[in-house]
């Protein structure tokens, strides 16, 4: 067991960081915020920790603390700036933000080491430390999946107008989700820097966003365990056991993702849910859970599958 673990430690580390990163996208998404900004803060976390420890000689704990505080401040400001954007527009703006972070990482030589990156970052956290961070994050996410917070999140992502009409301060909730997402991204970055001991601009950017989102969706977008499952599948199993087919890894990942998207809307975590008898009882009473929307407005009315929740501004025009 211990030998097996230590032989796989590198892959496990990869899975842990991937899970943290996927969770960072998830916590935004479950409040209805399609944001990749956390991947940018992954860079902030990694470079910040790397700079403070490797270059400035700080200890990892104070460095990480300062970096998380910086992340909170920056992400709060960014949330204020992006407050008006939703859905694909927010996604687009945050993709641009991540790429700007990457460009900044390349250009800001004195802190980031430029294209060479930072190396010699002290490996202080270790696999156990990162696992603890992840466990804490997942526990918080699991606890907030149900109950009053869980209901509020569900309401937020399914119907913003209704949420605000029921007393939810939508903008404020989105900002909280945005900051929490950024903090998780930053923690992923801190972990990655500490585990790998190097961080370069190539560790950042578009492909990182893609892997985080893919791991999340394949693992299960709406379940707290989704990021963990996705991280393990993509960063561990596919890295370690694909073997002869590794040239086709992109094909395997892509095909797996499409299949899950089409046939398993709840991701691989949805498979476990099927085994939960409590769920079945509720399902028998009608469709529940999952990424559904508000129920159809008019009985028998056409549902094309693409009606948007009507933006508040438009409602008046249509009455």
């Amino acid at each position: 067991m211990i030998d097996w673990f230590s032989g796989n430690e590198g892959y496990i580390q990869g899975a842990l960081v991937a899970a943290l990163l996927a969770a960072s996208v998830q916590v935004a998404l479950r409040a209805g915020v399609l944001s990749f900004a956390s991947v940018g803060f992954y860079g902030v976390g990694a470079y910040g920790t790397g700079y403070l420890t490797a270059t400035q000689g700080w200890g990892t704990a104070p460095a990480a603390t300062v970096v998380v505080i910086i992340t909170m401040v920056l992400s709060w400001l960014l949330a204020l700036v992006l407050a008006r954007l939703r859905a694909l527009y927010l996604a687009m703006a945050t993709i641009a933000f991540v790429l700007l972070v990457q460009i900044g990482a390349l250009a800001w030589d004195s802190v980031t080491g430029g294209p060479l990156g930072l190396f010699g970052i002290p490996p202080a956290l270790g696999t156990g430390g990162v696992a603890l961070i992840l466990a804490g994050v997942l526990a918080v996410n699991a606890l907030t999946q149900r109950g009053a917070v869980g209901r509020r999140l569900l309401l937020l992502r399914k119907d913003e107008a209704l949420a605000s009409a029921l007393g939810v301060n939508v903008r404020h909730q989105h900002q909280i989700a945005f900051v929490w997402s950024a903090v998780l991204g930053s923690l992923a970055g801190i972990s990655q820097a500490s585990l790998l001991t190097v961080f370069t601009p190539e560790n950042l950017g578009f492909s990182v966003m893609v892997s985080a989102l893919t791991a999340l969706v394949v693992g299960g977008t709406w379940h707290w365990s989704g990021p963990l499952i996705g991280g393990v599948v993509f960063s561990w199993f596919l890295s370690a056991y694909l073997g002869f087919a590794s040239d086709y890894r992109g094909v395997v990942e892509g095909a797996l993702t499409v299949v899950v998207l089409v046939f398993l809307p709840k991701g691989l975590a949805g498979l476990f849910e099927l085994l939960d008898p409590g769920r079945l009882r509720r399902a028998a009473a009608g469709p529940t859970g999952g990424p559904g929307g508000v129920s159809a407005g008019v009985p028998g009315g056409a549902s094309t599958g693409q009606d948007r929740p009507v933006p508040a501004q438009e409602m008046g025009v249509s009455s």
Binding site: L154, K158, D159, S164, R282, G286, V294, A312, G316, V317
Partner: protein, 247 residues
């Protein structure tokens, strides 16, 4: 007697379109008001302005005597303005009871442990009041349309609002279901709830409301006693749709 809710010279413009053009009205405590008008007359915009989903281009909104023109929708809800929407908007993935809990859980009074217990009690009470407590643990999508509508109203009244706005609650309903909702609204009025009912069917509100507002082309065409107002030639004309002469 101060109005529970008052609009003063509200104007709303979307791009170049004047959706609401200078509407003033006041809702009296304990009354069931009806706001009628043909499709496209701006009814929903008026309600959205009241519930603060739409910010008026011009004019003011008063709730309980206080200017709430700049407040957010969640703030007016916390101050006692609840509403329903034109389409059914129950959250899939939550049971009926959980949906109704949404109506109370964001209120400032629900913050403490004791507050949460009281909120749960209020939700259960609302379920009973709307006679949907027997389906509390059911997924709403499985229910008939009329029942879903009552669940929505339960959610809206669970937070003990001072005023309730209902946006076309009987649209698309069978005669039986209309009757059901009509009875529910009557009971709420008897309990002293101030309400504004938006409806495009003039006949439906005639027997039900205490006070009638008629909206056409974004302007208030007439207001007052339901039967007398409905009988006005301009109102008749607007509803029968012969000639439209903006007043």
């Amino acid at each position: 007697m101060t109005a529970v809710l008052e609009l003063r010279d509200i104007k709303v413009r979307f791009g170049g379109v004047k959706a609401v053009d200078g509407v003033s009205l006041a809702l009296e405590p304990g009354h069931l008001h009806a706001l009628v008008g043909p499709n496209g007359s701006g009814k929903t915009t008026v309600v959205n302005t009241m519930s603060r989903l739409v910010t008026p281009t011009d004019g003011q909104v008063f709730l309980g005597g206080q200017d709430v023109t700049a407040a957010g929708p969640h703030e007016v809800y916390r101050r006692g303005l609840a509403r329903t929407f034109q389409g059914i908007r129950l959250v899939e993935g939550l049971t009926v009871r959980e949906n109704v809990l949404l109506g109370v859980q964001e209120l400032p009074t629900a913050r403490s442990r004791a507050g949460r217990r009281r909120a749960a009690e209020a939700a259960d009470e609302a379920l009973e009041r709307m006679d949907v407590h027997h389906v509390a643990q059911v997924a709403p999508a499985a229910l008939p349309y009329g029942v879903q509508r009552r669940v929505e109203i339960a959610r809206a009244v669970a937070g003990a609002p001072k005023i309730l706005l209902l946006d076309e609650p009987v649209a698309g309903m069978s005669a039986g279901e209309r009757q059901e909702i009509s009875a529910v609204l009557g009971r709420l009025r008897d309990d002293g709830m101030t309400m504004l009912l938006i409806e495009h069917d003039l006949r439906f509100v005639l027997g039900l409301s205490d006070h009638l507002f008629v909206l056409n082309f974004g302007q208030l065409l007439a207001a007052g006693d339901p039967a007398a107002t409905a009988a006005l030639p301009a109102v008749q004309e607007a509803f029968l749709g012969r000639k439209h002469v903006p007043a």
